[in-house]
């Protein structure tokens, strides 16, 4: 089966500019996650969707970050305006299980590497 797709793979912007990332999860997966992975660190959860609803966005910097999953399939993550510390890899993952399941094996996309200058 096809994996999680993300685009673009790389993006370079200047601080204060805006940027958007796109994710297409594995077909049939109800739960979608966005993670931020700073160089040398493990991924950190930003937001979690079940279908088109937000389950957990407690770690999302809402003054500049936003995400949506309007039709319960694809998702976009936006940063506006970007700061230098936003330089990271942004990973999308999806899971067949619902967010409240005790077991939810997540499948990750290749990520988008963002560099903010």
């Amino acid at each position: 089966e096809a994996g999680v797709a993300q685009s673009p793979r790389y993006k370079i912007i200047e601080k204060r500019q805006s940027v958007a990332f796109w994710c297409n999860p594995i077909s049939g997966h109800a739960t979608l996650y966005w993670y931020q992975q700073i160089l040398g660190q493990g991924p950190k959860l930003l937001i979690q969707f079940q279908n088109n609803g937000v389950v957990d966005d407690s770690q999302l910097p809402k003054d500049r970050f936003s995400a949506e999953r309007l039709k319960g399939v694809d998702s976009t993550l936006k940063i506006q305006p970007a700061k230098l510390e936003d330089s990271a890899v942004y990973l999308c993952a999806s899971s067949f299980a619902t967010a409240r399941s005790s077991y939810n094996e997540q499948f990750f996309g290749p990520g988008t590497r963002l560099t903010v200058l």
């Binding site: 040398g40 493990g42 005790s102 094996e105 990520g111």
Partner: protein
Amino acid sequence: GESVGLHLPTLSVQEGDNSIINCAYSNSASDYFIWYKQESGKGPQFIIDIRSNMDKRQGQRVTVLLNKTVKHLSLQIAATQPGDSAVYFCAENITESSASKIIFGSGTRLSIRP
């Protein structure tokens, strides 16, 4: 607070030898633990998991050990191969009222000497 950490940031192993990657955790509420492998330019890939009520679980060439007394987790890779070169993350799954979420540690880079 919730945290998962690793003892060593890098590990160099001779090809064919066994690798042991260690991890410490602090959250007693975790219901299971997962090991991920991340190769350069790719997202994390699931290797093996273990429920919190288990001590040991084996997969193909990999074994995970869980010691809840000292809150320690380890991943053993048998007969390490060049393709095992990657960063390995331990992670813990926590189920709360609203959702389950995975918290990652900071990773150990495994390099293989020929």
